[in-house]
Amino acid sequence: MSKMLQILVLCGNGAVTSTVVMTKLKEKLRDNNVQATYTQKRVAEGTQALQDKNYDVVVSTAGQNFAKGHDVPVLNGIPFLTGIGVDGVISQIVEIANS
């Protein structure tokens, strides 16, 4: 059994593309037996969020500059929007869950 992941999902306004990413993440991770809790925020709040709480992984559709100085893995959420390369991102998260 893998550990419970704390996942932070970020996008430009914390409502649109992050929702699309989160809905698909939930579905795919459930299929892969990964348990996770999700937090959704605006990218402008990203730096603050990383200071306030320890996340295991961040998925962002708006770059990764907010994570400067933190060693949390930041994955690209854009594949969830285009549909190209989703499996690669999922396997990275599964790996983190099992490590």
């Binding site: 970020l10 996008c11 430009g12 306004n13 914390g14 409502a15 649109v16 593309t17 992050s18 929702t19 699309v20 809905t23 959704q40 605006r42 990218v43 402008a44 709040e45 990203g46 603050q48 962002s60 559709t61 708006a62 770059g63 990764q64 500059n65 907010f66 854009i78 929007l81 285009t82 549909g83």
Partner: protein
């Protein structure tokens, strides 16, 4: 059409739109169970926005704004209750019902005739085109003109996205992506106009480190905090002279908390709406992907992707504070930007920074201009919107002297004014098509507008 309007105003958007989407999804061969769930989520999101959050916020602000208008004479009647409500209304009209198939077909035709490389798969944001189309339809009672104006806005968005694409891809490091997003591309339009003068004035040469500015904002970079403070300020203006009364302070702090709650919660409601809508967008994307040609295509996406760039955030933060000043000091402004304070300045900035090559001073100046234009368009068009929202029905649009307004960003406002009659609409469409094909053939013109230097020239 008359009959449809009657049904719409009787049932309201929270019922009509889910039914629309459910039928459309069955038609596109989505499994009934999945379609049903998606429709329910759309209903929940809409209900959260239209029946719970919007009336709550309007009710809370109504008193203070009415008081401010009647006793202090400060004319700020049009309250910004956020884009969520505007998108919900847009998709629940007959223009909204048609915009996805019409927009897709128009986009595929443009690609077929080599007028664009952009395939806009950001289906959700088609609402921005439907919104302006709906205003024109209700105002003129001419459905065909309404749809045509929606298409005009689509053409302007795609043309600008296409012109800016090489520069955007280079600057944001997002190959294969362009931004035909109505709000973001408004910033791009203004930036294209101001880039050349900025370069001549030498402003583009001044360098400032944006990271150091960002850190100084601290909690004032949070839109909930800023929203709270503005609401408290409005309360203090509205009830000035009654400070000795304990109840006054209770009222002042209550509208602060109400505004904070609204700004925090309305993306959550929109998120439910989006979760439902995504089933439909996914399917449409699948269908269209099969029909796109073999040549290089840029996927048109939500401007949210570019908001995370540090230059965007810095420019957005500074101009968010500028916007607060504009609410009170911009001459003749009647638009009280509140719900989207954390949205509009950032999306306009996202469209601006790449064109200004990350130059913070030029970006802040440009974004200030874009915001001023937004305030004036919102002041002029909000009365039209408020009146039409009454006709569409199903949503509270007033509380005392306070009225629900609409945040109209530059491209939307320009489209509205161009769309006033058939002659200007048709001329505008032709001009946009000529611009599309001209800029594609001229790297020099593209460089002049966006600063993009093609490598092989």
């Amino acid at each position: 059409m008359e009959y449809f309007r009657l049904i719409m105003s009787t049932f309201g958007a929270a019922i009509i739109l889910p039914v629309f989407i459910f039928i459309a999804e069955l038609f596109l061969k989505i499994k009934p169970g999945k379609a049903f769930k998606s429709a329910i989520y759309i209903g929940i999101g809409l209900n959260g926005l239209i029946s719970i959050l919007n009336p709550y916020f309007l009710g809370a602000m109504g008193n203070a704004v009415s008081e401010m208008i009647t006793t202090q004479g400060i004319q700020l009647p049009y309250i910004d209750t956020g884009w969520g409500v505007l998108s919900a209304l847009s998709y629940s009209t007959t223009i909204g019902a048609a915009i996805i198939p019409v927009g897709m077909i128009v986009n595929l035709i443009l690609i077929r005739f080599n007028l664009t490389d952009t395939l806009n798969i950001d289906i959700w944001n088609y609402w921005q085109w439907a919104f302006i189309g709906t205003l024109i339809y209700y105002q003129t009672d001419n459905y065909l003109l309404g749809i045509t104006v929606a298409v005009l806005m689509q053409l302007i968005c795609i043309a600008l996205a296409d012109i800016a694409a090489p520069k955007m891809q280079e600057f944001f490091n997002l190959p294969g992506i362009s931004f035909p997003h109505g709000s973001m591309i408004s910033g791009t339009l203004i930036a294209m106009i101001l880039r050349w003068p900025m370069e001549k004035l030498g402003i583009l040469k001044i360098n400032i480190n944006s990271d150091s500015i960002q850190k100084r904002f601290g909690v004032f970079g949070d839109s909930v905090v800023v929203g709270f403070l503005i609401a408290v300020l409005i309360g203090m203006i509205a009830w000035s002279g009654q400070y000795s009364n304990l109840e006054t302070w209770s009222n002042i702090l209550k509208i602060g908390v109400a505004t904070g709650s609204f700004i925090f919660l309305y993306p959550k409601a929109t998120s439910a709406l989006l979760e439902g809508f995504d089933v439909l967008s996914d399917r449409v994307r699948e269908i269209v992907a099969k029909r796109s040609p073999n040549r290089q295509i840029d996927f048109g996406m939500d401007g949210a992707l570019a908001v995370g760039h540090p230059d965007t955030i810095t420019t957005g933060l500074i101009t968010m504070i500028v916007a607060v000043g504009m609410i009170f000091f911009l001459p003749n402004n009647e638009f009280l930007m509140l719900a989207d304070l954390g949205v509009t300045p950032f999306f306009l900035a996202a469209g601006t920074v790449a064109i200004m090559n990350g130059n913070i001073i030029a970006s802040v100046i440009t974004n200030t201009v874009s915001l001023a234009i937004t305030f004036y368009f919102s002041t002029w068009i909000s009365p039209v919107f408020n009146n039409i929202a009454r006709q569409i029905g199903g949503i509270d649009v007033e509380s005392g002297e306070a009225l629900v307004g609409a945040d109209i960003r530059p491209v939307a406002g320009i489209t509205y004014f161009l769309g006033q009659n058939w002659i200007t609409t048709v001329i505008a469409i032709l001009v946009v098509i000529v611009i599309m094909s001209t800029v594609r053939k001229s790297p020099k013109l593209r460089e002049f507008l966006t600063g993009y230097k093609a490598l092989d020239n």
